[in-house]
Amino acid sequence: MKVTRPKLSWWERTYFPAILKGLAITLSHIPKIKKRVTLEYPEVRWALPPQYRGAPILLTGLDGNEKCTSCKLCEFICPPRAIRIVAEETSLEKEKRPKEFDIDMGLCIFCGYCQEVCPVEAIWLKDEYEMADYDRTNLIFNKEQLLARGRKPPYLPGREKPLEEPK
């Protein structure tokens, strides 16, 4: 590519016009009080977009039990291997449920692959982003914590507690 260099006059070559122009631009920004972009964080918060990927949660199904069927696809796809699932049998229709479901938030990279790969839409990355802690062991979220983070759906009419496992 041919770069054409503009022929500068001697006055332009002293840098003064460019310097003065730059100084005028920076000065003109000082009185623009209305245009300040600073967000004073703890008090004012950013409106999160609906697709925001924050801390993962586990959803509870309409029957009151966790939706997860312990297929382990998320465990398999997770790039930093932050998810660990121990499966167990259940007499519910889904036949399989997670006995333990741990996500190490110290490893999680918020890629959202688990959410994308989940066949039953049980795991979601929601809008929580303040997870700092002084102890790394607190950053391993177990199944109860993950379920508690997810909002419970309203139970079906006439049912106030989770569906019992048939014996």
Binding site: I19, G22, L23, I25, T26, L27, H29, I30, K32, K35, R36, V37, T38, E40
Partner: protein, 349 residues
């Protein structure tokens, strides 16, 4: 109050006032730097510590106190510990010769507003001491035992030495014009009477050379190569932390205040304002007013320092040397020759 005390006590009071004003000035210049830069970038700047962030310098000071003071293993300890002092100390003692007002009369005694009043070699002293600040940079960089520090120190030394020529020649043309090294006489020459204007008008060339050179002398952007963050980490103070780093920091800002005072005295009529005579306000209030005017002018200069810093990008090293040696130095020589020729042919107007 007789004998030696009549000299020592006023001098001591003046030193206290100057140290207080300069150190407060340094603290609030750092805040102004952050605030102005924020406004120029459409941000709000520090506003948590106190109203409008006015206590931010205090918070910064406390933070510096509690930071760990680290000496690298490779550092040469005696010089490593000495270098921050060598930066801050010259920056502060330059104020010994800078007159900061006319004079005040208290209880029948008249005190000139300068720590060393009537020093008739003030400019020479100021140039000599401000050149010493390069030792702080050089020794800090060398004794840190770090390649980044060493590079920063080398750049700093060559830059300060190169641009001192410009400063020296610009000042020399003023000295030639006024025929004195005394700040009071130079200030008096710029005001009060027909044809006496602030020197930045008749000596515009010297003013430009001098201003550009003090930006380099105080290591401010666009000439902050000794501490160019994006190239050599922190430059000569890479290895310093805690209060020792704070000393470099304060030294830089104190140098800015000294340089601003220098500009104001040489080119902007010192503490004088056009069409205003301090005799109108009486011997005490006139003196205090002159002091306020002088420090206000310094504040304007400091704002320009900050303004330029947040506008212009950094020079490349060869551009810096080209500007110093091939543009400013010939300009300064030309200006000096012009002034000398004028004086020879026409004399003082």
């Amino acid at each position: 109050m007789t004998g030696i005390w009549a000299i020592v006590i006023p001098a001591f009071v003046k030193i206290l006032v100057i140290i207080a004003v300069v150190m407060t000035g340094v603290a609030y210049t750092t805040l102004a730097e952050r605030k102005v830069s924020a406004w120029m970038q459409d941000r709000k700047g520090p506003n948590r510590a106190g109203p409008f962030g006015l206590l931010q310098p205090v918070a910064d000071g406390i933070k510096f106190f509690f930071k760990e003071d680290i000496t690298p293993k490779e550092a040469y300890r005696p010089i490593y510990l000495l270098a921050p002092l060598l930066t801050l100390f010259p920056a502060l003692i330059t104020f010994a010769v800078i007159p900061f007002g006319t004079s005040v009369t208290v209880a029948g005694q008249t005190y000139p507003l300068a720590i060393a009043p009537g020093m008739n070699l003030g400019i020479v002293y100021l140039l000599a001491i401000s050149s010493m600040s390069v030792y702080g940079i050089l020794l800090a960089g060398w004794s840190s035992g770090s390649k980044y520090s060493l590079m920063g120190a080398l750049r700093g030394a060559s830059q300060v030495i190169s641009y001192e020529l410009g400063i020296g020649l610009a000042v020399l043309s003023i000295v030639l014009w006024t025929g004195t090294f005394d700040f009071n006489a130079i200030v008096a020459d710029q005001t009060g009477g027909w044809g006496k204007v602030w020197f930045f008008i008749p000596h515009f060339l010297a003013f430009v050379v001098f201003t550009v050179s003090i930006f380099a002398e105080t290591n401010r952007l666009p000439f902050d190569l000794p501490e160019g963050e994006s190239e050599i980490v922190g430059g000569y103070h890479t290895e310093y932390s805690g209060l020792r780093f704070a000393m470099f920091f304060m030294g830089e800002y104190a140098n800015m205040i000294t340089a601003s005072a220098f500009v104001v005295l040489l080119f902007f009529g010192g503490w004088n304002l056009p069409f205003v005579r301090y005799e109108w306000f009486g011997p005490l209030w006139g003196g205090l007013l002159s002091m306020v005017v002088f420090f206000s002018k310094i504040a304007v200069c400091l704002f320009i320092f900050i303004w330029v810093r947040w506008t212009l990008p950094r020079f490349r090293y060869d551009q810096l040397m080209t500007l110093g040696w091939r543009r400013l130095f010939p300009l300064a020589v030309l200006n000096f020759v012009l002034v000398a020729t004028w004086l020879l042919l026409r004399g003082r107007p």
